[in-house]
Structures are given as C-alpha cells and as structure tokens.
C-alpha cells in the first residue's frame, strides 16, 4: 500500500514536471535559507554552554549613575571587588577570578609578535575548567608569571605543543618586560566562547598590589567572574551582593565622606549598580550592560538573532505557501483522478494519505537538495560572516532529527490543506462539472496567501533598503577631519626611540607630518574625568563641574587632521606652556598647562560663545592643583564611529600618554610606502612588532558588523523574492491555463491582446498592491524603531520614497513574472478554447 502511494507520488511529481520543479526549487531555497540562518543562530545562542559548570558561572557588570550625565555602563568592575565579594558571600560563591587583557608584544628568541595577553588570578582554572593537552589544572599557575597557552599559540611560536618550561618575554604591560614560562597547554577554545583566549598569565600579586588600575575600588578595569555554589541561583547571589554594597562594603564609608548622610530612602546600590549575568547569557546580552565599551570578544546581538530567526521563519512560510497554492491550484487537473478513485472505492482518508505522502516526498527531495546547497554555500557564507559554521550531519544526530522533523512538519503542514481539500470532494459533483471543483473560497484563499507572501517579501526588502541607506549615510557623514591620507602607527613599544623614529619617518618624501596622540580616531576609549571651572580658588559658572571625555595629543595633531579652531589657538611649541606638567616638575598647585575643548564641552559648561571660554581656567581630576587654561575651542569631530555620537571632550597635552602616531602621506604606491615605514621601524625599534594601519580601513572596520548584517539581509530578502516569484509564476501559469476558455470568450467579444494581458496582469497586481499596503506600515514602524538607536540617522521622510520604489519594483517583477505567459495565452486563437468542454 505504502509503496503504491510512493509510486503514485513519484509519478505525479514527474508528470507535473514544471510545477514539481517550482515546488521543489522553492522549498529547497527556503529550507536552504532557513538552515543557513539556523546554523548561525545555533552558534550564537550556544556560546559558552560547553564550559563545565557554565550554569554556575556569573560575571559582575558595573554601572554608575550620575544625575548630570548619562550613566556609565561597563561589563568590567573594580579590581578590589572580586576578593571582597568572594570572602563576604562565602555561602553563595565557590571562587572568583579577575581577567585583565592587554595588547602586548610577545618575544621569543628573535621574533616579536603583537598579542592579546590575558592576565588572571591563580584561581582561573577553578572557574574555567578548560581541557589541558599538556600539564594540568593543578600543575599550572603555581607561581606568578606562569603562562598557559592554547595549542594553536604553542604551534605558532614553537612548532609543537609539548612546550612546558619554555620561556617568553611579554613587553609593554608593566614598566619592565616580564619573563613568563609555559606551565600548561590547553586545547583551543571553540569559536563559541566569549573568552577568546590565546595566552593566559598568572598575574603577579605584587604587581596587582602596586598597580593603581588593579588595586582600586573606583576604577573599573577587570572582568570579574564568580562560580556560585551548586543550588545557588543568580538572584540569591545578587541579593547578597547588593546587601553587601549597601551595608557592609567600603562604599558605605566612601559615600559618607563624599556626600554626607544618604537620604533615608536612598541606597548606594541605586547610584552604583553591580549586576550579575550568567556566563551563558554573556555573548548575547552583555551588550545591555556594556555602555560604549567592549567585551573580551565581539559581542553578539540578541535582537539580531531574533530578527534573523524571524526572517528564516518568514522565508520558510513563503516557500510553504508556494507549495500549498500550487497544490490546490492543481486541483482542477486532479479532480477527475480523485473522483475516479472515490468511485472505485477509495475512502476519504486514503485519498488524503495519498496527497500527504506526495507532499512529504516533495519536501524530502527539497530537503536533500537544500542540504546539498548548504554544503556548497557554507564556505562562502562562513567567509562573509567570519565564522566557521559546520553542517556536521554525520556526527550530529540531533541536527539530523531536527531537520527530518522540520521536513515532516512542513510536509504535513503544507500538505494537509490540499489533502483535506481534495479528498473532501463529492465525486458526482467532480465528474459533472466541466471546470473541476475549483470553489470561490479556495481561489480567494490562494490570493490571500499570495498577499501574505508578497507582504513578507516587501517588508524584508524595505527593511534591507532602509538599513542600506542608513549604513551608507552613517559612513558618509562628515566626521570633521581628514582621514584619507593617514597611517596610524602604534608607538607604545617605541619608548625612547620615539623621537628618532619620527625624525627618520619625516625623511621619507611621501610623509609630510608625524603627530602623536593618546588615541587615534576610532580608538576612542571611554576616558572620563571630572573637570571643574575655576576662578582662582573659586568654583564658578553655571555648570562648574562636568564629566568630560579626554584625549591627549602632541603638537600639530589638529593641524595634521585639518581641524581649525573656532576660537583661540591650537597647541603650539611657541608658547612652551601647553604641556601638562609631571609631578616631578614641581609642586602641585602652582602649575599650569593648556586645554582645548570641543563645542559640546563648551555648551556643557554653559558658555554661549567660543570666545567666552578662552582664557578661563579648568581643573581636572587627573591633575589636581594644575590650572588648565582654555586656549582654544575646536568643532565637534567624530573621534569614534558616529554610532556613538560626539561626546563633550577636553584635549590636553600629557606627553606620557601619547601612544599612537598619525602619519600624513601622499603617494600612489601605498604598498611601497608601508614597506619603507616598516623598515624604518625595524631599524629604530628593534624587537618590536609593528602595528601599522590605514586610518580609512580602521574606520571601515567599525562598520564591519553592520556590513555583514546588511549582506545577510540583502541575500535573504532577495531569496524571499525569488521564492515568492517562483510561486507567482506557477500560479499564474495555472490560472491562465484555467482561464483559457474565458479568455477565448472575451476575445470573441472583441477584447484585444492588450486587453487580455492587462486583465491577467491586473489579476496578479491586485494581491501585490494589497501586499504593499500591508507591508508599508509594518516596515515603516519597524524601521522607525530601528532608526531610533542611531544618533545620526537618515531623514525619516525617506521611508516613504523607499517604500514606493520597493513596492513599484516588486510590482514590475511580478508583471515580468506573469506577463510572458499572459501574452502567450492572449495571442492564442480562441476557437480551440471555445470548443473545449
């Protein structure tokens, strides 16, 4: 019996060649899109779940609230917190660890490479139970400066993994290079981990003790993780932590000293939040707590994952609708077959099972095709995403079953309607009717489904178009400085050779200037400090105390970037008084230096014109007692991606903080220039890896994430349209076939070919137009919400034209899809059609 069904199913698939083809290819494309997206979603949602006890590990995020400023959010916390919390919450917490990461240059023998080195407490492996290839949890991290590396790193430096006892040098973190010895080699971490570790060093407690970045209650630099005791929930631990902050922590005293008694209903934890988050949630949810700063690895985006899951579901829906529509449209062709089967004694159930069987066979064929397509496209997809997603069908039974289940579900879902519909016919009615059993409801249901398909595709395309427009706009906004002719060179490792390096570089004819700064554009760290407006000893002005972002720069920085002052002057050697004085220069309190503000900072202090601020004095929390004279006002420039907007900023000249050089060049042969710069670097700064980049490329890299999302959106919405049009084509050829007699009659009545084509095209324009009317408000609403998150966004009036253009184009596509067939039918001689019974 079952075999009989399979045979009939197969024959029917063959017999209805073109429609089976449309059905199968549409479904295969839909399933392919769905599988590709789901692979991505699966990886994104599975981050860190593979770690032992991952459900007991939490990280502590900090947030500081300040009435005058936006809250300062970060996924890091203060260096002193971990030990204090661990010791206090003994019942909740098993152990804790701090991570702090530095870009460092790592030397081994004659080679020096730039690396991200993670310094950790000795308890690291108590929290993160990573697998060792050589050495063990117990034998590693016996003493400070013990190093654990991944297999990959071991191979990179030593060509083998068995490297315990080998020694390397880590530079540029502490004042002196430190010698580290390999005490263990761990397996490479999977991509699906937010930790992203290559080299882990047991940080010297002595360094911690003396390092103001680590031994602190107020400066947040470290990533703090705790492993909770079994059975303890995050909420319990969170409660304990909050209680401690409010009642027992050193903050209680600090608050009292700074602000006096707290109001009765106020809590310290309201001003200073310490929020715990499960390890498993970090990849997708850390963004909520991250503010303007990053994490150990690029953060995932929960909204994006949800969005893409929805896209996958929608594409599948479109493909399923094709399937349903084409099957029911075929009814008139198969009505007689059904009738005859029933006359010969088949029950309704048997007929239904036959149709379901056919549906499932088609879905399974599509699924196999889809898997082949996924296999084929995966390398390309991975390249675009920057991932290593795999379709491991043979090792991943769960995936196989999930896919088979999905196939079966689609088969049943999409096949049940035609099955119920067809099997329910009265045979007498079927055999009598000249037109088959096509009822009005079934054909209007088909049109509704087409509307759904096109509304979905149009929404996807409009969203893609808006995202594209916004991305283009964001990149085209004038950042306020010239970036095309800049190379950015990291000079942190250059030390005393800095001046010689600059001298040598300037000898190159291609290079016209070399200027220093603490950060280059795009590298903006969240460096905030309190600045106070002073008149002598007195605090003055409307808003005397303001939290400002600050950068340091050397002479000529603004000139090189072609930023002109709005008032006053830029830093200049001629005055000799601009530099921040170091403590050793003299007594605090009698020193003076210069500061330049941007327009936002100017407004923040309440000045109404740039001129007004010139000559006024500021004091910075960093340089207490040092009078900073405002010498100039510069326009707001986007030091960072325009995603983050412009922050009120103070520019000072602390020569100790200058870490990057910007090289202004002009050449047609950039490769040769890069080589020349590199060779100068090698001569002047031996044993240091060079970090040299084009500023333009650094700026583009800021939009890498968006550009990937955009690519995905474009490809998948294009696929959605292709699938929808496949269905429309099938449906159109069916209906025109069904309408040949009507067309014949109309022609006899005097309709021209043009009239007929217009008639048929209108039939299919209607659903597309209705789809537009549904899709526009939905996509406009969605895009308004999306655009809200950008400080600089396209004028929302653009949404209208975008909708119109997308809707119009899709209408044209639909016409093209339907038109060819319609013209053919319209040109046919009507006699034949009229003779047909």
């Amino acid at each position: 019996m079952f075999k009989n069904y399979l045979i009939t199913a197969w024959r029917n698939i063959i017999k209805n060649g073109i429609f089976s083809l449309i059905n199968i290819s549409g479904l295969a494309l839909g399933l392919m899109s769905c599988i590709l997206i789901m692979l991505f979603v699966r990886e994104e949602t599975g981050f860190d779940k593979w770690l032992t006890d991952s459900d007991r590990i939490v990280r502590m995020h900090s947030a500081y609230y300040n009435p005058d400023n936006p809250p300062f959010l970060t996924v890091r916390s203060a260096g002193n917190m971990m030990e204090a919390v661990r010791d206090y919450a003994k019942n909740e917490v098993e152990d804790g660890v701090r991570l702090i990461r530095f870009g460092a240059s790592v030397r081994k023998d004659d080679s020096a490479l730039a690396e991200q080195v993670t310094f950790v407490d000795g308890s690291f492996f108590n929290i993160f139970d990573l697998s060792f290839v050589h050495g063990s949890k117990e034998s590693s991290f016996k003493k400070p400066n013990d190093l654990v590396i991944t297999e990959e790193t071991a191979i990179k430096y030593f060509g083998k993994t068995d490297v315990i006892g080998e020694v390397m040098t880590v530079c540029c973190v502490g004042p002196e290079p430190s010698t580290v010895a390999v005490s263990g080699v761990i397996e490479n971490l999977p991509d699906a981990s937010h930790l992203d570790l290559d080299m882990i060093v047991y940080i010297d407690p002595v360094i911690v003790e003396n390092n103001s970045g680590l031994n602190t209650w107020t400066s947040v630099n470290v990533y703090t993780y705790f492993k909770m005791r079994p059975g303890i929930s995050l909420e319990q631990f969170q409660q304990r932590l909050t209680y401690w902050i409010d009642n027992e922590s050193p903050f209680v005293q600090m608050f009292e000293e700074n602000f006096g008694e707290l109001a009765a209903d106020a809590k310290i934890s309201d001003n200073m939040r310490h929020k715990l988050m499960y390890l498993e949630d970090l990849h997708l949810r850390a963004r909520e707590d991250a503010g303007n700063m990053g994490d150990l690895s690029p953060m995932g985006d929960k909204t994006l994952i949800i969005t893409f899951s929805i896209v996958a579901a929608l594409i599948l829906l479109i493909a399923c609708i094709n399937f349903m529509n084409l099957s029911t449209a075929r009814v008139s062709h198969r009505a007689r077959e059904v009738a005859m089967r029933k006359v010969l004694g088949a029950s309704r159930g048997q007929v239904a099972v036959q149709f379901l069987g056919e549906a499932i066979v088609i879905v399974l064929i599509s699924l196999i095709l889809a898997l082949a397509l996924v296999e084929l496209l995966l390398p390309l997809y991975n390249q675009a995403l920057g991932r290593q997603l795999e379709l491991s069908l043979f090792s991943d039974l769960k995936l196989v079953f999930a896919l088979l289940g999905l196939g079966l579900l689609i088969g049943l879902g999409a096949g049940s309607y035609p099955a119920i519909f067809l099997s329910g016919f009265q045979p007498g009615h079927l055999l009598r009717s000249s037109k088959g059993a096509e009822s009005k409801t079934s054909s209007s249901l088909r049109l509704i489904l087409v509307v759904v398909q096109f509304a979905t595709s149009i929404t996807l395309v409009v969203c893609t178009a808006v995202i594209y427009a916004q991305t283009q706009y964001a990149q085209s906004v004038d950042v306020g400085y010239v970036s095309e002719d800049k190379l950015v060179l990291n000079i942190r490792g250059a030390g005393d050779n800095r001046q010689r390096l600059r001298h040598e570089l300037l000898k190159l004819p291609e290079i016209s200037s070399v200027v220093y700064s603490s950060e280059s554009p795009t590298q903006d760290n969240e460096n905030n400090n309190q600045f106070t407006l002073l008149d002598g000893e007195h605090v003055v002005g409307e808003n005397p105390q303001v939290l400002l972002n600050y950068h340091d720069m050397g002479y000529g920085f603004f000139e090189a970037y072609k930023v002109k002052p709005l008032a006053g002057r830029l830093f200049s050697e001629d005055f000799g008084s601009d530099e921040i004085k170091q403590d050793s220069d003299g007594q605090n309190g009698q020193l003076s230096a210069s500061v330049i503000l941007n327009e936002s900072a100017l407004r923040k202090f309440g000045f109404t014109s740039p001129q007004q601020a010139i000559g006024k004095t500021l004091e910075s929390g960093n340089y207490k007692g040092q009078a900073l004279t405002i010498i100039g006002i510069v326009p707001d420039i986007y030091f960072r991606s325009i995603k983050f907007g412009v922050r009120p900023t103070a520019y000072t000249m602390n020569t100790n903080r200058l870490r990057v050089a910007s090289l202004t060049f002009s050449t047609n042969n950039v490769a040769a220039l890069m080589e020349k710069v590199e060779s100068i670097w090698k001569q002047t700064v031996p044993m240091q890896p060079i970090e040299l980049q084009f500023l333009d490329e650094m700026m583009k890299a800021q939009y890498a994430e968006e550009s990937i999302q955009l690519k995905m959106f474009s490809v998948f919405s294009l696929l959605a349209i292709v699938i929808a049009c496949l269905g429309l084509y099938g449906l159109a050829s069916f209906t025109t076939e069904r309408r040949t007699r009507e067309i014949g009659i109309r022609k006899v009545m005097g309709a021209s070919v043009k009239d007929i084509v217009a008639l048929l095209i209108w039939q299919f324009s209607k659903p597309v137009i209705i789809a537009n009317l549904i899709a526009w408000p939905i996509s406009i609403y969605a895009m308004l919400i999306w655009l809200e998150s950008f400080s600089y966004r396209i004028d929302i009036l653009w949404l209208g034209p975008i909708c119109l253009v997308v809707g119009g184009s899709l209408l044209l596509v639909a016409w093209a899809t339907v038109g060819g067939n319609a013209a053919k039918v319209a040109r046919a001689n009507p006699i034949k059609a009229l003779r047909q019974e």
Binding site: R746, V748, M749, G750, N829, P830, I831, L834
Partner: protein, 226 residues
C-alpha cells in the same frame, strides 16, 4: 451583407491534411435567416468561424459589407467583429465567475461605452430575452435554456447586425429549443441577419434559406418562400 468566394480552409496536423472547406461560394444578404446543415464533421463550424472572423481562410475571398477582409490583420478583424457580429454557441460559453448581467455586459466592455449606458443596454436586452430578474445570478444557477437566452442577449446587446449561432439548440430539450428559435426569429424580424448551424430540420425550418454542406462543399441551397 457578406460574400464568400472560392473559400478554402485546410487543417494541417503532423501527417494528415484535412480539407474542412473546399471552394465554398456563398452570398448572404442583409436581413436573411440562413440555416446551415450537414453531417458531423462536414465543416459547418469551420464555415461559421470563418464568417465570424475567428479563423482565417487558407485561400479564397471574403467580402464583408463590401470590403475584402481576407487581408485584414488580426487587430482589424477584431474591430470589425466586435461591432458587427454576435456569437451564440452550443455550450453557451458564459463565464462562470461572472454574473448574468456581467456576462452580457462583456460584449460592450471593449466598445468604449460609458458604464451607465452599458448598464442601460444590458437591462434592456435582459428584459427582451426574459432574464431580467436573473441579473445577479451566476450562470451555473440557471437552466440550460436560460443560459442560452443570456447568450442570445449577449450576442445582440451591441447592436450587432449579424448573429452567428453554432447549434444553439444542441444542448437543449425541445421546449427550450423552441423558445430560443422563436427568439432568433423575432430578432430576424427586427432586422438582424442570422446564420445558424443546426442538426434539426424542424429548427432549420425557421430559416428562410438552408445551405447543405457535405465534405466541405455546398451541395444544395433551398430557399423557402416567406
């Protein structure tokens, strides 16, 4: 009104060549009621289609209203057709998705007539053929005779002077057949030229001339005294 001169129509399929009409010469005057008879497959429908310009002759001349239309393009034929010729078919050929009134209106739809005027004309002919109260019904809700009356209404609504009917009574019982024949006669009396194919001698008696076809050629023509 129309004149066929040495008209031939051949059908060529892959191997066989069928001569459906062979040197047919017929002249039909305005106001005539002509019946065409003959055995099945002798070419009656082919002849009617040629007269109705739904088909083109393989050779020969076709003069319609003093104009040689043999060389007309499809577009020109369509224009002549929609203004001068109405069709009635054995299987009615009503569009099942449209109501009775809409089916009749179809014949005016491609004539550039304002909607209000169209409606008026449709109501008038519906009244004339006696389906006025059925305007909103679907064709499938009517009996065969009623459907054919709708088809007649559709054939005349555009004031077409020539009505071509291919076995209009073929699908009807004798009572309904009679009804349709009476209607055609009254149309003829009002000035319409009618060419009708029929297998029924009784119905052929309604005509004032009968043309007998055999194997694609005219064998006899008999004229009845009015």
């Amino acid at each position: 009104m129309l004149k066929l001169h040495n008209l031939c129509r051949m059908y060529r399929t892959d191997e066989v060549e069928t001569v459906a009409l062979n040197n047919v010469n017929i002249e039909i005057q305005k106001g005539e009621f002509v019946a065409i008879m003959g055995p099945s497959g002798c070419g009656k429908s082919t002849l009617l289609n040629l007269i109705g310009m739904l088909d083109s002759p393989s050779s020969g001349q076709y003069i319609f209203n003093d104009e040689d239309i043999s060389s007309y393009s499809e577009k020109q034929l369509s224009a002549v057709r929609k203004h001068h010729i109405g069709f009635i078919f054995q299987n009615f050929n009503l569009i099942e998705e449209l109501t009775v009134a809409e089916n009749i209106e179809l014949a005016l739809l491609y004539h550039n007539i304002p909607a209000a005027e169209r409606k008026e004309k449709v109501l008038a002919v519906m009244d004339m053929v006696g389906v006025a109260h059925r305007g909103k019904h679907m064709p499938s809700q009517l009996s065969g005779g009623q459907q054919q009356r709708v088809a007649v209404a559709r054939a005349v609504v555009g004031n077409q002077g020539l009505i071509l009917a291919d076995e209009p009574t073929g699908n009807l019982d004798s009572a309904h057949g009679q009804e349709v024949m009476e209607m055609l006669r009254s149309l003829n009396q009002q000035g319409s030229t009618i060419v009708m194919v029929t297998h029924s001698p009784a119905h052929a008696d309604y005509a004032n001339r009968t043309i007998n076809l055999f194997d694609g050629a005219v064998v006899t023509q008999s004229v009845r005294a009015a």
